[in-house]
C-alpha cells in the first residue's frame, strides 16, 4: 500500500545542511499497523512529515521514492498531494491541545476538513461533523461541537484530533506520538480507540513513538530508528526478546517493565551491582491531615483533601496519580512553595507548615528540603551556565565564595557525573540528560535530607531516563537521602520506590510497600492504573536470572553508567 525506498531528508540550517533521514526503506501493507520507534533526533517524525510533504521550512526530500497505491508522493503536484492529505493519508499528533486551532470551535475544525474534501456541504456539515465526533466515542457530541479546545481535557482534544484525521475515511493513519503528555488511563483509552477504528475500517497505520512498550503492544511490526537510519526491523516480540542491533538492545533494556530492576535498564556492560539501601524506621517527614483548598469560580475547590502519610529516613516514597489528582499540589506544599490550608507537615520533629511559604526561603531548614523539577530545560535559567546554576544555592544559602565554591561545584559535578568541561556551558548547549544532571546537582548541593523529585525523567528519552534513574539510586545510597518521587509512570515508581502512595481526586486511595501494591493492588483505581500501563512482551526467563544475580551482589560500588 505504501512503500518508501531510500528516503533521505535534509534540513538547511544556519550551521549548514543536516541529514535528518538517511536512506530509509519500509513498506506498510493493507490492514497493518507499523511501529516506528526511536529516541529524539532519530528522524522518525521527519520521515512521516516527508511522506505527507509537510516538512518544516528548510527541509527537503533529497532522494528516494515514496509510493502510495501507485501515486508518486514525492513528485505529485502540491494540488494533488493536498487532496491525498486528510482523505487518503491523515495524521494525528502529539500534544493534542496545541494541535488544534485554539480560537476555532472544534466542530468547525472538523467541518473544515469535511468540506475541503467535498465530503460535506454547508447544509449537512454540522451533522457529519457530529457523526465524526461520535465515531471517536465523544459523548454529547452535539454539545461538544461548540466547544473550544481549551474547554476540553487533553484526552478529549486528542479524540477531536482523531475525528479530524478520520473524518474523511482515510486509508492510512499516521500517529505521531499520539499519547505523549496524556495520562496513562487516557493513553490506553485513546490507543485502544485508534486501534479499534483502524481494525474496524480496515485501515493501515504507522505509529511513531519513543515508547517501545507501547509500540510492542499495538503494532504488528516494528522499525527501530537511530540517527536517521533504520537499525532493526521485525516482529515486536522478536525485537523484545532477541534484539540483534546493539542500539535496539539498549532501548529494550532501558524500557521500564515489570520484573526488571533499575540496574537492568542500563546496557549489560554498564551494570554495576545495585547499592543496598536500608531505610530506617524513623520518620523524617510526617504529613497529617494536609488540606489545600483553592478558590475556584464555582466555589472553593479542594485539591488535597486531608491526606496523611510518612516518609522515613532513607526511604523513597512514590506518589502516583493522574493529572489533577493533587500530587503536584502536595509536593509543592511539602517543598514549602505553597501554603497548606490546614494540616501539619512535621519535618524532623518540627511542623514546617507553620512557616509561611513566602518566608521559607530564609528559613534554615530550606537547605534540608530540595526539589528536582520536572522539565530540566524550563527549570534552568537560560542565561546561567551550568556552573552558575549549581552555584546559586551554595552562594545564597551556603554563603560560599571563591575557591571553596569552585571546589564544591566540581565535587558536585563529579557526584552527578557531569563532565567538568561542560560546567561553563549554557542550558541550550547541553543535552537533556546533562541538564537533568545539573538540576540534580543543584538540588543536592546543600546536602539536603529530603529530596522531592517531580517527574524528573518525564521529558527524557528512555535510555537517558535509565541513566538518570540509576544516578538517583546511587545518590540516595551515597548521601543517605530520603525521596518523595512524584510520577505517573508506575513502572518507574516500582523501580525506585520502597513505598507507594496512590492518589485520586485529592485523596489517598491506596498505599503500601511498592512490590505489594504493584503485584496485588487492592483499590479498583490502582488496578485500572496498572492495567493501563503498556505491557512490553515478557522476557520472564531472562529477567529472573538477572534478578537473582543482582541480589547476590550487595556491596555498593560507585560505578556510574553514563
Amino acid at each position: 500500500m505504501l512503500s518508501v525506498k531510500d528516503l533521505s531528508v535534509m534540513f538547511q540550517t544556519r550551521r549548514g545542511a543536516v541529514d535528518a533521514v538517511r536512506g530509509v526503506s519500509f513498506e506498510v501493507a493493507k490492514g497493518e499497523i507499523l511501529g516506528i520507534v526511536g529516541e529524539s533526533g532519530s528522524g522518525k517524525s521527519v520521515t512521516s512529515y516527508a511522506l505527507m510533504r509537510i516538512l518544516d521550512a528548510g527541509g527537503t526530500i533529497k532522494a528516494g521514492e515514496v509510493n502510495y497505491s501507485g501515486i508518486d508522493l514525492r513528485r505529485a503536484a502540491e494540488r494533488d498531494i493536498r487532496d491525498i492529505r486528510g482523505r487518503e493519508i491523515s495524521m494525528i499528533f502529539q500534544n493534542p491541545r496545541a494541535a488544534l486551532n485554539p480560537i476555532r470551535k472544534v466542530g468547525h475544525q472538523i467541518e473544515d476538513v469535511l468540506r475541503q474534501h467535498a465530503r460535506a456541504t454547508r447544509y449537512d456539515a454540522r451533522d457529519k461533523a457530529i457523526a465524526a465526533m461520535e465515531a471517536v466515542k465523544i459523548k454529547d457530541a452535539a454539545d461538544r461541537y461548540n466547544a473550544y479546545p481549551f474547554e476540553l481535557s487533553g484526552g478529549m482534544c486528542q479524540r477531536i484530533v482523531c475525528a479530524i484525521a478520520l473524518a474523511c475515511d482515510p486509508r492510512l493513519l499516521i500517529a505521531d506520538e499520539p499519547t505523549t503528555g496524556l495520562d496513562i488511563t487516557t493513553q490506553k483509552a485513546v490507543m485502544d480507540l485508534v486501534r479499534d477504528l483502524i481494525r474496524a475500517r480496515d485501515m493501515s497505520s504507522i505509529l511513531i513513538t519513543h515508547d517501545l512498550g507501547l509500540a510492542a503492544q499495538y503494532c504488528d511490526r516494528l522499525i527501530v530508528m537511530k540517527d536517521g537510519l533504520i537499525v532493526e526491523k521485525g516482529d515486536p516480540v522478536q525485537i523484545f526478546s532477541q534484539p540483534t542491533h546493539p542500539y535496539s538492545r539498549k532501548l529494550v533494556d532501558a524500557t521500564p517493565r515489570s520484573g526488571a530492576s533499575v540496574r537492568d535498564l542500563l546496557p549489560a556492560e554498564n551494570r554495576a551491582p545495585a547499592p543496598r539501601i536500608l531505610p530506617s524506621g524513623q520518620p523524617l517527614v510526617e504529613v497529617r491531615d494536609l488540606v489545600k483548598t483553592y478558590a475556584g469560580k464555582a466555589g472553593p475547590v479542594q485539591a488535597v483533601k486531608g491526606i496523611s502519610f510518612t516518609v522515613n529516613k532513607g526511604q523513597c516514597v512514590g506518589l502516583v496519580g493522574e493529572s489533577g489528582c493533587g500530587k503536584s499540589t502536595t509536593s509543592e506544599m511539602l517543598v514549602r512553595l505553597l501554603d497548606a490550608t490546614s494540616g501539619q507537615i512535621v519535618f524532623d520533629g518540627q511542623d514546617i507548615a507553620k512557616t509561611p511559604a513566602r518566608g521559607f526561603a530564609k528559613d534554615p531548614r530550606r537547605a534540608d528540603i530540595q526539589m528536582v523539577f520536572q522539565d530540566a530545560t524550563d527549570s534552568l535559567n537560560p542565561r546561567h551556565s551550568a556552573r552558575q546554576a549549581i552555584a546559586e544555592p551554595l552562594r545564597r544559602l551556603g554563603r560560599m565564595r571563591g575557591s571553596t565554591l569552585g571546589t564544591r561545584i566540581e565535587e558536585l559535578a563529579g557526584l552527578v557525573g557531569l563532565p567538568l568541561s561542560l560546567l561553563d556551558r549554557f542550558p541550550h548547549q547541553l543535552s537533556g540528560g546533562q541538564k537533568a544532571r545539573v538540576g540534580i546537582a543543584r538540588a543536592v548541593a546543600l546536602d539536603p535530607k529530603f529530596l522531592i523529585l517531580d517527574e524528573p525523567t518525564a521529558a527524557l528519552d528512555v535510555s537517558i531516563q535509565a541513566v538518570v534513574l540509576n544516578l538517583l539510586v546511587d545518590l540516595r545510597a551515597k548521601l543517605g537521602l530520603s525521596y518523595l518521587f512524584v510520577s505517573h509512570d508506575l513502572h518507574v515508581v516500582r523501580l525506585l520506590c520502597d513505598h507507594v502512595i496512590v492518589m485520586k481526586n485529592g485523596e489517598i486511595v491506596e498505599e503500601g510497600p511498592a512490590a505489594l501494591v504493584m503485584s496485588q493492588p487492592q483499590n479498583p483505581y490502582t488496578k485500572s492504573l496498572i492495567a493501563a500501563a503498556p505491557k512490553p512482551p515478557e522476557r520472564a526467563a531472562v529477567i529472573d536470572q538477572l534478578e537473582t544475580t543482582d541480589a547476590q551482589h550487595s556491596a555498593f560500588h560507585d560505578q556510574r553508567a553514563s
Partner: protein, 344 residues
C-alpha cells in the same frame, strides 16, 4: 441570567471597569490644572484689570472657595457639558473641541486605515515568504517609517506632490476655499459630504486629507507591519498549522482561517498603541498642514496659558484613550474565545 452568558458577562464587566477610570481621569484633570503655575483669575480678568476686578473674577469663577467645593462645581458643570470658556477663541471649550476633535479623528483614522491596509498584507506576505523581496521591502518600509520624523516626511511630501508635481492642493487646512464645508453632522468632512451627496466637496476634502494622512500613515505603518510579520511567523510555526496542513486544507484556509486569526491578537494590541501615539504625533502633522485639529488647538492654548482649553483637551484625550482601550479589549473578546473566561 448573566451566568449563562459568560462572554456577555465579561464584556459588561469590562465596561463597568471603565467607570472608575473615567472618574479618576476627571479628578486628575481637575487637580492638574489647579496645580499648574499661574492664577487663572488674573488671565480671565483681562490685561487692564486691577486688584479688585481680579478678586471679583476670582469670586465669580468660584476660585476663592475650597478645592472640594470647586471640584463639586466642576463636576456639576461637566455633567451639563460645560467645560468652561476658552480665553483665546472666546468660545466655550466644548464647542471648540466639538469643532476640532472630528478634524483630528478624521485625519488619524484615515491614516490608520491607510496604514493597516498596507501594513497588514505586507506583514503577512513577508511572513509567508521570508527572505524574498517582499520580506526585504517590508524591512525597508519599517526602517524608513520609524526613522523619518513626521514633520520631515510631511514637508517632503508637500515639496514633491504640491511644489514639484503640483498634484496635491495647497496644504492649508481641511478644505480649499473654493468649496463650502458640508453641513455638520458627524464633523467628518468625508462622511458629511457623502451624506449630502456632494461628491465635489467630498473629492476636495479627500484631496486635502491624502497628504497629511499619508504622512501619519508612514509613521504608524512600521510597528503594525513588524508586529504582523512577527505574529504571523509565530502562528505559522504552531502545531495546529501542521494539523491543518496534514488534513489537506488549502493554503488559503490555513493562512487566513488558522494562522491569521491567531496572529490578529498581537496586531490589535499594537493597533491600540499605535492609535494613541498617532494622536500625539498629530500635533506636528497638524502644524505642517495647517490642519485645524485638536492637537494644534492644545498647543496654542498652552502657549497662551488658556487653562480651561488645556483642561478640556486633557479630559477629551483621556476619555478618548479610555474608550479606545475599551474597544480594543472588546475586540479581544470577539477574536479570542479564551478571554471571556480568564477576565474574572
Amino acid at each position: 441570567m448573566l451566568a449563562a452568558f459568560p462572554r456577555l458577562r465579561a464584556i459588561l464587566l469590562r465596561v463597568a471597569q471603565a467607570i472608575p477610570v473615567v472618574i479618576g481621569v476627571v479628578v486628575i484633570s481637575f487637580l492638574l490644572t489647579r496645580a499648574l503655575p499661574g492664577d487663572p483669575a488674573v488671565y480671565f480678568a483681562g490685561v487692564a484689570a486691577d486688584e479688585a476686578s481680579i478678586e471679583e473674577t476670582r469670586v465669580a469663577m468660584g476660585l476663592d472657595r475650597p478645592l472640594p467645593v470647586q471640584f463639586v462645581h466642576y463636576v456639576g458643570d461637566l455633567m451639563r457639558g460645560d467645560l468652561g470658556q476658552s480665553l483665546s477663541s472666546g468660545r466655550p471649550v466644548a464647542t471648540d473641541l466639538a469643532n476640532r476633535l472630528p478634524a483630528s479623528l478624521e485625519l488619524t483614522l484615515t491614516a490608520l486605515i491607510l496604514a493597516v491596509v498596507i501594513a497588514v498584507p505586507l506583514g503577512v506576505l513577508a511572513a509567508t515568504r521570508p527572505g524574498t523581496w517582499v520580506d526585504h521591502l517590508c524591512r525597508v518600509v519599517v526602517t524608513a517609517g520609524v526613522s523619518l520624523p513626521t514633520f520631515f516626511t510631511g514637508i517632503l511630501l508637500i515639496y514633491i506632490f504640491y511644489y514639484i508635481l503640483g498634484i496635491a492642493p495647497s496644504p492649508l487646512g481641511r478644505l480649499d476655499f473654493i468649496y463650502l464645508s458640508p453641513d455638520h453632522v458627524t464633523g467628518f468632512y468625508l462622511i458629511d459630504a457623502a451624506l449630502m451627496g456632494d461628491w465635489e466637496t467630498w473629492r476636495g476634502a479627500a484631496k486635502q486629507l491624502i497628504l497629511p494622512a499619508a504622512t501619519l500613515a508612514l509613521f504608524t505603518l512600521a510597528p503594525i507591519a513588524r508586529m504582523t510579520r512577527a505574529a504571523m511567523l509565530t502562528a505559522l510555526s504552531s502545531d495546529f498549522i501542521r494539523t491543518a496542513r496534514a488534513a489537506g486544507l488549502s493554503n488559503r484556509a490555513v493562512l487566513y482561517r488558522y494562522a491569521f486569526r491567531n496572529a490578529l491578537l498581537p496586531v490589535v494590541t499594537t493597533l491600540g498603541m499605535v492609535f494613541s501615539f498617532a494622536l500625539g504625533a498629530n500635533v506636528l502633522v497638524e502644524k505642517v498642514f495647517a490642519w485645524p485639529g485638536i492637537g494644534s488647538y492644545a498647543v496654542e492654548a498652552l502657549v497662551v496659558s488658556d487653562y480651561a482649553a488645556v483642561q478640556g483637551f486633557v479630559l477629551a484625550m483621556a476619555l478618548l484613550f479610555v474608550a479606545l482601550n475599551l474597544v480594543i479589549d472588546l475586540l479581544y473578546t470577539a477574536i479570542d474565545p479564551r478571554i471571556g473566561f480568564d477576565a474574572q
